[in-house]
């Protein structure tokens, strides 16, 4: 509607840049968004109980020992045996992480355990009253957390998740009770492995039942190595964790390591029992020997299933050993991969039953599908399931983080990025109203929004940000002042009537509060008269309210004759009925009302394509008392004609007299 050329060049450029980035919030509003979300309800949050022990020594002691531990299933002796069994030797740096298993027996179930090897924090408030040194040497503390395998498998807890969730538990003196650990959901899929081939190689080598050592990974952090271990295990059935011990670092000179997967800086001298891989170096593993047929079959299944393998494997929680018979049995019963739509159906069923494990499994599987672009080809089929099964509807029974993770995958499956206004309307239609709560949060946080209209509709959805907060946010993001109103004007007819008030009012508000000269911008856009007419056709009241505000901004409460002429300047756009109506209501006198009617009429003639005539009419009327406009160009002066007529009449009379005299 309004040519881009009329805008300053810098604003146009900024707008173009912004179209690439999409609309987004500032950090402050993201924080506010976080506060809007209620914390996960304790009854629905994923929670496990951890038995624990702290290994180390006091400042005045020389020998390492179990300093304190929980008084649950395991006692001091048990914890000591666990910690020393999985000792990984001298470490070049701390922290490091070990994951291990505790078999069932003596009346207890099987457990999985994670150990954090670390120095005490130099900050006394975070050290858990531990000393950093004893006898002049730094103390390597080990915080060990053991969780029943059944709990871990039931909730599909990963090692990284458990370690992140227990990290803040400092195990202070006096504590003896097992710890309830609220699990922190992983919000983003992270990658540590240098390649998929590397992961598959480690998986294959682990299935040959030999220890696997990864060399030359010193450039990575302990966290990244832990994530790598988790990624490897995510490509194996969950049930194998019940026999997995792994560490992010082990001394290559340590005798009798009880680790199945570990990182080291050199090969061990252990009679070549260990398989070695080099970090970042793609090396195919030779599995051609007949005894590795089960491993080969497993790898081919992994390739076939692709990214869908991990969620499937997470559900295989039946305990397994790293032995040939167990591996063969496992390979024989591998599940086939579910399609995206099947997974969506499973998600819908799980949501219906409030089955948290099922929901989580389905969400994880969908995440994998999303990572695989070829699987997104059938988006229409996904949308049919998503809309048909009401997957976008709010599930108040679920905790907010689970709801958010569901929305995150479902929205990505249903809609292309960035989110357009048409997509927003579909979401509204699907949920039967404005998107609030977790859905709104996910849309604002995790989605790129293509344009102003869907962005403002999401941002203003209840509880909604205040106008001024959004103005600051968009302004900081570099949105030009006129960009929103131009978008509204351009798409006025296609904006749904229920959205028009919101988008129009905020666009005007944004222009008024961010433009250097808002009146000039509004005047150039015909005081938005035509936009308002398109937005609120036939609704003079809605148009009048907004036009009155706009005109007051430039002219004040009453219009002077000059302001009236300025308002209906013939070069301006078509004056709408609402504009004339508002102008009339702002007229200072009956004469001004008459002038408004006259000017409005001329303006209409002008906008109808008769600009020249309108101009003549306007000037003729106005300049009546002045000398004739084109006097100088008249070929015969008006007085000469009259004189000649008189002379002609006199000549005719003389001729008549002569003819009468002659006849007589």
């Amino acid at each position: 509607m309004f040519p881009a050329a009329s805008e300053p060049a810098s604003q146009s450029a900024a707008a173009a840049d912004h179209r690439d980035e999409g609309y987004t919030l500032t950090t402050e509003l993201f924080l506010q968004l976080d506060r809007e979300q209620p914390p996960d309800d304790a009854s629905t949050a994923r929670c496990v109980t951890a038995e624990w022990a702290l290994w180390g020594k006091e400042a005045n002691e020389t020998a390492y020992r179990v300093l304190r531990c929980s008084d649950g299933t395991f006692g001091v002796d048990d914890f000591r045996e666990i910690i020393t069994r999985y000792a990984s030797g001298v470490k070049e740096e701390l922290p490091q992480y070990t994951v291990c298993w505790i078999p069932s027996g003596q009346g207890h179930q099987a457990y999985l355990a994670v150990a954090i090897h670390e120095l005490a924090d130099p900050d006394p408030s975070r050290s858990g009253e531990r000393s950093r040194t004893a006898g002049g040497r730094e103390i390597e503390f080990v915080r060990l957390f053991c969780v029943r395998y059944a709990e871990m498998a039931g909730l599909g807890v990963s090692y990284t998740e458990l370690i992140e969730s227990v990290r803040e538990h400092q195990l202070r003196p006096g504590e003896t009770a097992p710890i309830p650990v609220t699990l922190r959901s992983e919000t983003a899929t992270r990658h540590a492995a240098p390649s998929r081939l590397m992961l598959e190689n480690v998986v294959a080598l682990l299935l040959t039942a030999h220890p696997v050592c990864v060399l030359e990974a010193e450039g990575t952090t302990a966290k990244e190595r832990l994530l790598f271990i988790e990624q490897v295990m995510s490509l194996l059935p969950y049930g194998l964790r019940i026999r997995l011990s792994a560490s992010t670092w082990a001394s290559s000179t340590a005798q009798d390591l009880k680790l199945r997967l570990f990182f080291a800086n050199a090969r061990r001298d252990d009679g070549s029992k260990t398989s070695y891989l080099t970090w970042g170096v793609p090396q195919p593993v030779d599995l051609s020997a007949p005894r590795y047929d089960a491993v080969r079959l497993y790898l081919s299944w992994l390739h076939q299933v692709g990214s869908g393998a991990a969620p499937e494997l997470a559900e295989l929680t039946k305990p397994l050993r790293f032995t040939d018979p167990d591996i063969r049995r496992m390979v024989a019963t591998l599940p086939r991969d579910r399609s995206v739509t099947e997974t969506l159906e499973v998600l819908a069923d799980s949501l219906g039953k409030d089955d948290i494990t099922g929901i989580r499994g389905a969400v994880d599987r969908l995440k994998r599908h999303l990572a695989s672009q070829e699987r997104l080809a059938d988006r229409e089929a996904c949308r049919q399931v998503i809309f048909g099964r009401g997957l976008l509807k709010d599930r108040l029974g679920l905790n907010p983080s689970t709801r958010a993770s569901v929305y995150r995958v479902v929205l990505k499956l249903a809609f292309d990025a960035p989110l357009t206004y048409a997509s927003y309307c579909e979401i509204e239609h699907a949920i039967g109203g404005r998107p609030g709560g977790a859905l709104r949060s996910v849309l604002l946080r995790d989605f790129k929004i293509a344009s102003f209209i869907p962005f403002i509709l999401v941002a203003k959805a209840p509880p909604g940000f205040r106008d001024q907060e959004l103005v600051v946010s968009l302004s900081q993001r570099g949105i030009p002042p006129t960009s929103p109103i131009d978008e509204v004007a351009g798409f006025a007819a296609s904006i749904q009537s229920k959205h028009r008030v919101t988008v129009c009012d905020f666009a005007v508000h944004y222009l008024r509060h961010t433009a250097e000269d808002p009146w000039r911008a509004l005047k150039r856009r015909g005081y938005l008269a035509e936009t308002l007419e398109a937005l609120f056709p036939g609704n003079i009241k809605e148009q009048r309210t907004r036009l009155h505000e706009i005109l007051r901004l430039g002219y004040g409460e009453r219009l002077s004759p000059d302001q009236i002429r300025d308002l209906f300047d013939h070069s301006g756009p078509h004056p709408t009925a609402a504009l004339e109506d508002v102008a009339r209501s702002m007229a200072a006198s009956p004469r001004a009302v008459k002038l408004i009617a006259q000017q409005a009429a001329f303006a209409r003639v002008s906008s109808a394509g008769y600009a020249e005539d309108a101009l003549i009419l306007t000037r003729g009327r106005v300049q009546r008392s002045r000398p004739p406009i084109r006097q100088t160009v008249r070929l015969i002066p008006r007085g000469t004609i009259y004189t000649m007529l008189v002379l002609l009449l006199m000549l005719a009379f003389v001729v008549f007299l002569l003819l009468t005299a002659a006849h007589v």
Partner: protein, 325 residues
């Protein structure tokens, strides 16, 4: 045999089961790991001996590098041992004209290349006590000792004076070892008893009072206790122990090992501080161990001049090599 990545080199010479090695035995914080860490530096400090140290496998070589970096560059003590560490190093020497042999019509002397494999097992001090580190580690330590031909027994006079745990520590392990490996009442091992931390002020002063100190005739003029006085020094030191049982250590050693197979050495892994600008031992300023102010760890003040670190290892190494042949 596990599958290997294609193109990967086969592991370097896995070889037959490891030869009988040398095990470090001593209570916690008696300086076992620091002693090992100083071995390379000690050899480099005495090039005239002709011996050098090499790693026999990648892990052991890496450990040598780490020890060297930690002590000589970072001036830090090595990390305490949390599990039994197994270092496979070799002492190598090219001894000029060491062998006299008949060559056709006359005797000739030829150079002799010597290689003494060292399989050194460094166990955490706590591992001797099953109650501290558990039965697994304790059992493994005894197994290692039983397989070893030599033992380096560490005695730290400072910690003995403060804690007095040397006898308790040694007795349990040696009793178990005797039950497994004793022949005709005594164990066949060669034992180097190392009285450590000679660089500590209290230890040096004790030696001076006992008049067992001799000063090195070399350039630095470091004090030392000659081997002939070492057993006597040890005997005197254990009388200063906090424990009443310390006096039983010598009889325990005599009962457990053949007397001729036990030798005493007064050692210091880090040696005395030497002001580089002077270059001679200063009796008023020689402390090389700087105690850290918590939470900072202890540090090494200056360059490292190990005392009597090579001697026990070389003696045991040669003995073990002979035994293996």
């Amino acid at each position: 045999m596990p599958p290997r990545p294609s193109g990967a080199q086969p592991p370097p010479n896995p070889g037959p089961p490891p030869p009988r090695g040398i095990t470090m035995l001593g209570a916690q914080q008696t300086g076992k790991t620091t002693f090992l860490a100083a071995l390379q530096i000690a050899l480099l400090r005495k090039p005239d001996l002709g011996w050098s140290l090499t790693g026999d496998n990648p892990g052991s070589t890496q450990a040598l590098i780490n020890f060297m970096n930690s002590m000589s560059h970072d001036h830090e003590f090595p990390q305490p041992t949390g599990a039994i560490e197994n270092y496979r190093w070799s002492l190598e020497a090219e001894l000029p004209k060491a062998v006299r042999e008949w060559d056709r019509w006359r005797f000739r002397r030829r150079d002799l290349y010597l290689r003494v494999p060292l399989e050194l097992m460094d166990a955490p001090g706590e591992s001797a006590d099953g109650r501290l580190l558990g039965r697994n580690l304790s059992g493994r330590l005894v197994e290692n000792l039983a397989r070893s031909a030599g033992i380096v027994l560490f005695f730290d006079p400072v910690s003995e004076f403060e804690r007095g745990d040397a006898f308790v520590h040694s007795y349990g392990v040696l009793a178990q070892l005797r039950s497994q490996a004793a022949r005709r009442g005594r164990l066949p091992h060669h034992v180097a008893v190392c009285i450590t931390k000679f660089d500590e002020i209290r230890v040096l002063e004790s030696a001076q009072k006992l008049r067992v100190v001799e000063y090195d005739l070399g350039q630095e003029e470091f004090p030392g206790v000659p081997e002939e006085y070492a057993a006597e020094f040890f005997n005197r030191l254990i009388r200063l122990s906090r424990s009443d049982n310390a006096g039983l250590i010598l009889p325990l050693l005599e009962q457990t090992f053949h007397k001729e197979r036990v030798r005493f050495f007064v050692t210091s892994a880090i040696g005395f501080y030497l002001d580089p600008s002077v270059g001679v031992f200063d009796p008023d300023d020689y402390q090389n161990h700087i105690p850290g102010v918590p939470p900072e760890p202890d540090r090494i003040r200056g360059a490292i001049y190990p005392i009597n670190v090579i001697e026990p290892v070389l003696w045991l190494g040669r003995t073990v090599a002979r035994t293996a042949r």
